[in-house]
């Protein structure tokens, strides 16, 4: 297991390196002069030159990348053009909000997705199965910002049960977490259902049934454990999706998370903030995928021998 873990950790180093290269090159792919874009049309030539020197854009490309990477490794992602605060500080201030949303959304998606998926598989081709599949399709098709508004309209504005915006208490997170998780519930339910159906059709399940093993034990102990691999994959992939998708939910519920920070950075052309947030979200996604892979080995011991 240790060897497998070390091998997998080594494998993500080139991926992180290439991500950092792409994020670095983003600034250089912007049509026109990025410094003029940042400072606006009224900026003086001196201010533009000063900013160019500050960002290191007057250096050759390879030197710029080396100094960018040195900064990243030291935890320095530059300074926000807009707030003049270090980008790392901005990210550290806002990341916990997004992390709470993404973790909460993943828990909602996993718990409800697996429950609905198992019910659908057990009642295959019956009313319950069709009903859950229609609901899951609807959840995948509904944009999260629309669902946010519907939930806010019903539970905050009409019923007054939950607060609509802000992050003052745990109650403020209920609607955003449900919204963020809802889309993944459908995906999780579909994945669980098809994984369960595949396992439930195997010979050893038929044998267990013929031996009189109770159906509850067959479903939860025999089938579900073996259906876990695709489910774990989707959980890992969805976490990254939720991190990126949180920008929408954060916008509706006025949560000062990293997604909103990134979008504001794009709107204000605050490129150091945009680069920093994209780098952090992508790196989190890659690390989550690594953890998912390591979890495989726990769920299915065959994986580490491949």
């Amino acid at each position: 297991m240790l060897g497998y873990t070390i091998r997998r950790i080594l494998q993500i180093i080139p991926v992180l390196f290439v991500i950092s290269l792409v994020v670095f090159l983003m600034l250089h792919m912007i049509p026109g002069d990025p410094v003029k874009n940042m400072l606006g049309i009224n900026a003086t030539e001196e201010a533009i030159e000063a900013m160019r020197a500050k960002l290191g854009l007057d250096q050759p490309l390879h030197k710029q990348y080396i100094s960018f990477m040195k900064g990243v490794l030291k935890g320095d992602l530059g300074t926000s053009i807009h707030t003049r605060k270090p980008v790392v500080q901005e990210i550290l201030d806002k990341y916990p909000y997004t992390l709470k949303l993404a973790v909460g959304g993943t828990i909602v998606a996993t718990v409800f997705g697996i429950i609905f998926g198992i019910i659908a598989a057990v009642y295959h081709n019956k009313f319950m199965d069709n009903f859950i599949m229609v609901l899951s399709l609807l959840s995948v098709s509904t944009p999260s910002f629309f669902l946010s508004l519907i939930l806010m309209l019903i539970f905050s504005l009409y019923l007054g049960w939950l607060p609509s915006v802000g992050v003052k208490s745990w109650a403020h997170y209920v609607l955003p977490v449900i919204t963020l998780g809802a889309q993944s519930v459908g995906i999780m339910a579909r994945t669980t259902r098809s994984a369960m159906l595949e396992v439930l059709n195997q010979d050893y399940i038929r044998t267990s049934r013929s031996r009189g093993v109770p159906e509850r034990i067959i479903i939860y102990s025999h089938a579900f454990k073996n259906a876990l691999i695709p489910i774990v994959t989707v959980i890992g992939l969805r976490f990254g999706g939720l991190l990126a998708g949180s920008a929408l939910v954060e916008t509706v519920f006025a949560i000062p998370g990293i997604g909103r920070l990134m979008v504001d950075g794009v709107l204000k052309r605050d490129y150091p903030v945009v680069q920093g947030t994209i780098l952090v979200i992508s790196a989190t996604f890659v690390i989550m995928n690594l953890l998912t892979d390591l979890l495989y080995a726990v769920v299915d011991p065959r994986v580490k021998y491949d």
Binding site: V15, V140, F146, L149, I150, A244, T251, I281, F285
Partner: protein
């Protein structure tokens, strides 16, 4: 003759799945709305009429008016044109590039495959919406750049799908036979390989159209996509959320439109998958 027989069989199988047929009809209605709807509207989608802002539905304004007094139904109809056009064009461009990359990688293998596959892996290393936001961060907001973002977002999925199909196809007997009789690579790719991957590509394009509409409306909702005063469903919803308590219909109408279209594309995609490749049914 063979083609029409096949098509009629595909259509018969497609029709059997009622939900997909309903999805197809809904898409047809939205396409017709996008094509001829604007001619039937009596209001200008961008005409500001401040004395009549925040109107609830009435005979004059069936879906009420928005924060600038613009008719919501008219903007919804014009928005259908923008949303559908953006998704269709961008998915087609993305799929076209993806097919080329996938065919080249799968057919030639070796270092070309390695380079293209690493490129695809790299794009997929960025989660969902983040990639589209990154492209808009570089290019700036607006309709063409949003389309570029969506097209770029579609490339890796198509490329990976087609590469897999081509790898399994290129060792089949009919492709080997074609090589033996001296057919050029281009001929084999254009006349044998691509037609045999077309079914999967069509299914993928249909399913991608729904994702494209979701991505485009998400970008516009965040203020990164279609810019005001252009009517686009995501942007309309973003503007309407300020007044959701008093005139909820202004937010509900574009939201329902997005959901319906995305749902319909999923249903049609599932139906096409069953009809074009019955082996995949219930997968």
């Amino acid at each position: 003759m063979g083609g029409s027989l096949l098509n009629s069989q595909v259509f018969k199988r497609f029709k059997k799945r009622k939900s997909s047929l309903i999805g197809g009809i809904i898409i047809l209605i939205f396409v017709l709305t996008a094509l001829i709807g604007p001619r039937l509207c009596k209001y200008d989608p961008n005409a500001i009429d401040l004395p009549n802002k925040y109107q609830n539905p009435s005979l004059e304004h069936w879906l009420g008016t928005d924060n600038l007094g613009r008719d919501t139904l008219t903007r919804l109809v014009y928005g259908a044109r923008v949303s559908l056009m953006m998704s269709v064009v961008s998915v087609c461009i993305g799929s076209f590039i993806g097919v080329i990359l996938g065919v080249v990688a799968g057919y030639y293998g070796g270092w070309i495959d390695a380079v293209i596959s690493r490129f695809v892996d790299l794009i997929l290393a960025f989660p969902g919406l983040l990639l589209a936001i990154a492209v808009v961060a570089v290019l700036g907001p607006g309709i063409p750049n949003t389309m570029a973002a969506i097209a770029f977002y579609s490339i890796p999925y198509v490329a990976r799908l087609v590469r897999g199909l081509v790898i399994s196809l290129k060792n089949t007997e009919f492709i080997q036979a074609s090589k033996v009789i001296g057919s050029s690579d281009l001929r084999i790719i254009v006349f044998h390989i691509i037609p045999n991957t077309m079914g999967q590509i069509i299914i993928n394009v249909t399913l991608s159209l729904g994702t494209a509409i979701l991505t485009a409306s998400s970008l516009s909702f965040l203020g990164l996509g279609v810019q005001p005063p252009n009517p686009e469903w995501g942007a309309m919803l973003s503007q309407a959320r300020e007044v959701i308590r008093n005139t909820p219909i202004a937010a509900l109408a574009p939201g329902i439109a997005i959901t319906l279209v995305v749902l319909s594309f999923s249903l049609v995609g599932d139906g096409l998958r069953d009809a074009l490749d019955p082996k995949l049914k219930n997968s």
